[in-house]
Symmetry: C2
Subunit: 282 residues, 2 copies
């Protein structure tokens, strides 16, 4: 469906092709939250069964996947789980969990946590709204920079060279209100930097609005974005002051746990910036 329609900018190729496919396979299984078979994967990724099978074999051999002998289908293996344990800095997902829940309970909207990736704003975790009707995004998906509040926030507070590279890319139009020109996006970034949050009314889907605020670490680097998602009726384009305040407040709260705003070498409640963790206790 959404196959990489070779844009102008990837002259350097997209990297190592086989690795790309291997990661596609891995992610397809991981983010489906279920086991998948060779045939399913083959048609989902639009490659031959033989190719998928070879990659599956490699990933199983390495312990990243496991073939369920009963169903003959493939699932995430132990090695994949292990990778996360070695993240150089404290786990954003874990730290943000409690504040996210509080924010959700307070505002009622779906809450989303994202991080920067060259491809967009990676959805790390979501917390469904209190409403019976769910409006959300799938963890693992990558939201486009130009058409999401998270993407715009992460971009606005990213280092200059990163901005440059991304701004040069063509922008796909999703709705009438999607930003499609570089100038427009740059102006938006300036505004976001000034006001400390972003909103993206109907930029990717009509009727839906998203608002996002940045999360910083102890060196003022933007390491993520906290966002709320909702129907535009409840999350209007010109946002309610209380809502904005709450969002920014919780984002700041998470930032503080990473040592932001107190200089390097934080207090006791702070997550150690670069803790050496070598055991399960980590």
């Amino acid at each position: 469906m959404r196959k990489d329609d070779s844009t102008t900018e990837d002259r350097a190729g997209a990297g190592v092709r086989s690795v790309q496919l291997a990661l596609d396979v891995l992610e397809a299984i991981a983010f489906s939250g279920d086991e998948l078979g060779v045939t399913q994967l083959a048609e989902k990724l639009d490659v031959t069964k033989g190719s998928v099978h070879r990659h599956l074999h490699t990933l199983v051999e390495r312990g990243y996947l496991v073939q369920n002998p009963a169903t003959t289908r493939y699932a995430i293996g132990p090695k994949s789980r292990l990778l996360a344990r070695f993240a150089p800095d404290a786990d954003l997902i874990q730290v943000a969990e409690a504040p996210m829940r509080e924010l959700r309970d307070r505002l009622g909207h779906t809450v989303v946590l994202s991080a920067l990736t060259p491809r967009g704003a990676l959805v790390l975790a979501t917390l469904a709204s209190t409403s019976p009707i769910e409006i959300g995004v799938r963890p693992g998906s990558e939201l486009p920079f130009h058409a999401s509040a998270q993407g715009k926030v992460l971009l606005a507070f990213a280092p200059r060279p990163v901005q440059e590279r991304i701004l040069a890319r063509p922008m796909e139009k999703f709705t009438e209100r999607t930003i499609v020109t570089r100038d427009h996006l740059e102006a938006e970034l300036v505004r976001i930097t000034r006001q400390g949050f972003a909103s993206a009314p109907e930029e990717v889907l009509l009727g839906i609005n998203v608002m996002a605020a940045p999360i910083f670490d102890e060196r003022d680097g933007c390491i993520g974005a906290l966002a709320i998602v909702g129907s535009i009726q409840y999350l209007p384009e010109t946002p309610d002051a209380d809502t904005v305040a709450a969002l920014k407040d919780y984002a700041k709260q998470i930032s503080r746990r990473f040592g932001h705003g107190r200089g390097p070498g934080g207090a006791s409640t702070t997550v150690p910036p670069r803790a050496a963790r070598r055991s399960a206790a980590g």
Copy 2:
């Protein structure tokens, strides 16, 4: 150094070569617990810088790694962290953490948690002994089946086809006491199955002994091994009955949390076997 010296059984090759290298790069960085540079990686993995660089680029592009602009070196990225969240069954590492700590405090030995991989017993987590002198293993490393208590336990309780495939492999000799013949190993597996635990005195390193007991899920599948490591003076070859009892007891305790021994559909304190987890709450 240890490049695949084409054994008899891998006629199908070792899988997709580029993917192998990509994973090597990823793991080298992950399990080093630190940032690594192109040159370091190139010599560690014994490939050219150009090659490493291309793979690094791909992994960064996909969000699995991040290049630190300050040091220009590479570290684990957000996507790697995310993968772990999508493990199909409850996180063994997390569930085992508390029992591991109790066992460590009770016996004083280093405690290790492992899972099965085609290459060996993957070390998921360790908890250092109470002694000032540390005897342990690096999380992420894969212990050989024939020369580790964990490997032997996992193999003993693995499905028959898996056993077959592994038993056919040649066995490297580490010490005088390493098991190197198939017959010897098979006899050992029978004994392990009967007595419910394994020990591996001086099989990989002189002076060191390891004892391991299996962890089961609700369907009696062996999903891991709990082990204690120590100098052979304190963890003798003919083990103390109390020590064995404690090890088996804690392993069973973890198994119980996965619903083992009460049939499918466990009680409230049980980890749900296949919980649908789609949010940070998972």
